[in-house]
């Protein structure tokens, strides 16, 4: 049976390789920074104040180039999100001018935003966005955390990864060096820096803090029902284990009739 053992050993090694291969396939040439996110793990929840600060970073920094077209202002007040109060959400929405219409005269008009409106896009269309950004389209950030291998850690690393380029590294005009970007070339200039904005809750706005907060916000934006998912999942699995235990003993009892016949 030694050959059998050898085969089984090979199998287990292969399994390990298969499951660890995801990190190999990631394509990035450097390991992402790892953050102990509050939303990771089976009971993970978002840090409410971090989400609110993260929205402030998005609003005051990212939103000048990046849209979040699948989000509405009302989402900011929903359970499991930043949970701004109803008044705060209304005030945030009212801070934007929204195109609407046509009215009864057939005219388009602008009005103050409402909670039910989508986030206002910085550019009217993709071409305008590209024209304003040297030919590069600033991607929509609604699901960016799920659209990049490495997820939240990658986004955080990218925001932290702006460095002086190595001496022999050639960069074109309008291209920047980033340690974590594939190929190390990125068209987005370093978006965050220490004390770039002033947090309304008084937290010190270090680069690390800004990056963590906005990444937390983007993770929620990509997965707004994450908390409900974790909660329901825990209940479902506990239920299944209890039910399986009951069924297991029923099974033993039923099969006793057969097994005792021997």
């Amino acid at each position: 049976m030694t050959l059998n053992r050898l085969i089984k050993l090979t199998l287990s090694i292969l399994f390990v390789v298969l499951f660890s291969s995801k990190s190999f396939a990631a394509g990035s040439n450097i390991e992402n920074l790892k953050v102990d996110w509050s939303f990771a793990g089976i009971t993970g929840k978002f840090d409410r104040s971090s989400l609110q600060r993260g929205y402030q970073v998005y609003k005051e920094v990212c939103a000048s180039c990046h849209s979040m077209q699948y989000l509405s202002f009302r989402n900011l007040g929903e359970k499991g999100g930043p949970e701004f109060s109803e008044e705060e959400v209304k005030a945030i929405a009212a801070g934007y001018e929204v195109n609407d219409g046509p009215n009864s005269d057939g005219e388009m008009f602008t009005r103050p935003g409402r909670a039910s409106d989508k986030f206002v896009k910085p550019y009217p269309n993709v071409n305008a966005a590209m024209a304003a950004n040297g030919g590069a389209y600033p991607p929509d950030l609604s699901v960016i955390v799920k659209a990049r291998s490495g997820g939240a850690n990658y986004i955080y690393s990218l925001l932290m990864g702006y460095e002086e380029k190595p001496a022999d590294f050639v960069l074109d005009e309008g291209v920047y060096y980033n340690k974590y970007m594939e190929g190390n070339k990125i068209k987005m200039p370093a978006p965050l820096s220490d004390d770039l904005i002033e947090y309304s809750d008084g937290t010190k706005a270090s680069l690390d803090q800004l990056s963590k907060d906005v990444t937390t916000f983007l993770t929620w934006a990509a997965e707004p029902h994450l908390e409900a998912r974790h909660r329901t999942g825990t209940k479902v699995i506990i239920y299944l284990i209890l039910l399986a235990t009951l069924v297991y003993f029923s099974m033993k009892k039923i099969w006793l009739r057969v097994d005792s016949e021997k």
Binding site: I42, Y70, S149, A228, V236, A244
Partner: protein, 418 residues
């Protein structure tokens, strides 16, 4: 199916059953004599039925909210994830359900390979099963296109382009499949239509699969024919139902683990980028369950050759009952086949791994070796092994140990793949 004479007790039941013997069918399903030594590898039939029903039910709900249009599909999926009540749950069950379905079907297929369940008189069960498997791949491939992300679009482009390898008419066939000159809205529409159709074809074939199974009855870990009903069998209900339910619950725990705690780990992150015909992803990879075939496809430098070999890999499975010349079903009594079986498992896993890697250098070389071995297993090793192998003595029945030779059934049992 004529192994009982069921008469309903109630008058109404009798009246109904005389006209449509559904109650007889129910009685047959309850009493169906099943070998009592079936191990947990036999519970995957029930698990697969659960997977199919789950996919159909969640799929019907998703179709109520999904919009099959190139400009709207991605957005409608995001709407399901955000605004539809429990839409995230339904979609994650459906997308992970596809992976779970394939996980279960691969275990089911390899169980059949190990215990020789495809051999006479069960060839048709096997062939119907293979057709189901092929339809599953078609359904899964088209389903993956529907969210209209980058991998959807480029996966569809790569796979449909395979047909252009057919001489003379290839290009025309591809244009016909696409409904235009590239993968576009017409392609998405027809894929949605077919993705909705195929599960019901599978459902019909599952009925045939089970019907064909109920003629000879289940194979079993010892692989010998048994008298039915007898000391060696138990009625399907409650013995097998309770065991199937227990195994199903174990399976559901793993399923739930993926759905609730790692819903995107089996997918590709590029599919959360909306489809863009102008930007090709760095690596186009199919879903994990198609990777072994993808590796075979890419191991041939010639496009037509690759396509033929890929379909050949399925074809050798279909004709497997006639490639395996051994009359002994269970690998428990086939010391050599048992080892070749595990080598095949490693080979297929290796193909899966190599299918996910870039087709170059050592990866390509290993993929070629694994591809050659895959065909060697089915076309050379199995036919020859039936003549050369000295098999262990079979027991007279599954309740009685072997009278001669060293192997008793209990020893044999401990050595099966459990």
């Amino acid at each position: 199916m004529s192994d009982h004479n069921y008469v309903p007790e109630s008058k109404v039941g009798k009246w109904f059953n005389d006209r449509l013997p559904l109650l007889s069918l129910g009685a047959h399903l309850r009493e169906y004599p099943t070998p009592k030594n079936l191990n947990y590898w036999w519970t995957f039939g029930g698990i697969l039925t659960f997977c199919l029903i789950t996919q159909i039910v969640t799929g019907i709900v998703l179709a109520m909210h999904y919009v099959a249009h190139a400009d709207l599909a991605f957005e409608s999926v995001e709407k399901i994830m955000r605004d539809v009540n429990y839409g995230w749950l339904i979609r994650y069950i459906h997308s992970n359900g596809a992976s779970m379905f394939f996980l279960a079907v691969y275990i089911h297929i390899f169980r059949s390979l190990f215990y020789g369940s495809y051999k006479s008189p069960r060839e048709l069960i096997w062939i119907i099963g293979m057709i189901i498997y092929i339809l599953m791949m078609a359904a899964a491939f088209m389903g993956y296109v529907l969210p209209w992300g980058q991998m959807s679009f480029w996966g569809a482009t790569v796979i449909t382009n395979l047909f252009s390898a057919i001489p003379l008419v290839g290009e025309s066939i591809v244009t016909w499949l696409w409904g235009g000159y590239s993968v576009d809205n017409p392609t998405l529409n027809r894929f949605f239509s077919l993705h909705y159709l195929i599960p019901f074809l599978i459902l019909g074939l599952v009925v045939l699969h089970i019907w064909a199974l109920h003629v000879p009855g289940n194979n079993n870990p010892v692989g010998i024919d048994i008298k039915k009903p007898s000391k060696d069998t138990v009625p399907f209900h409650p013995y097998i139902t309770v065991k199937d339910i227990f195994a199903l619950l174990m399976f559901m725990i793993i399923f739930a683990g993926f759905v609730f705690f790692s819903p995107n780990v089996l997918g590709h992150s590029d599919n959360y980028i909306p489809a863009n015909p102008m930007v090709t992803p760095a690596h186009i990879v199919p879903e994990w369950y198609l990777l072994p075939f993808y590796a075979i496809l890419r191991s041939v430098p010639d496009k037509l050759g690759g396509v033929l070999l890929m379909f050949g890999a399925l074809f050798v499975l279909i004709i497997l009952p006639w490639l395996d010349t051994s009359k002994i079903r269970s690998a428990v009594f086939r010391p050599l086949y048992r080892q070749f079986f595990w080598i095949l498992v490693i080979d297929v896993l290796a193909l899966g791994y190599l299918g996910a890697m870039p087709a170059e250098g050592t990866y390509l070389f290993l993929a070629r070796v694994s591809t050659v071995y895959y065909f060697l297993h089915f076309l050379v090793i199995l036919p020859v092994l039936g003549f050369l192998e000295k098999t262990d003595p079979l027991p007279a029945s599954i309740s009685e140990p072997v009278l001669t030779g060293g192997l008793s059934t209990s020893a044999a049992k401990s050595d099966d793949i459990k």
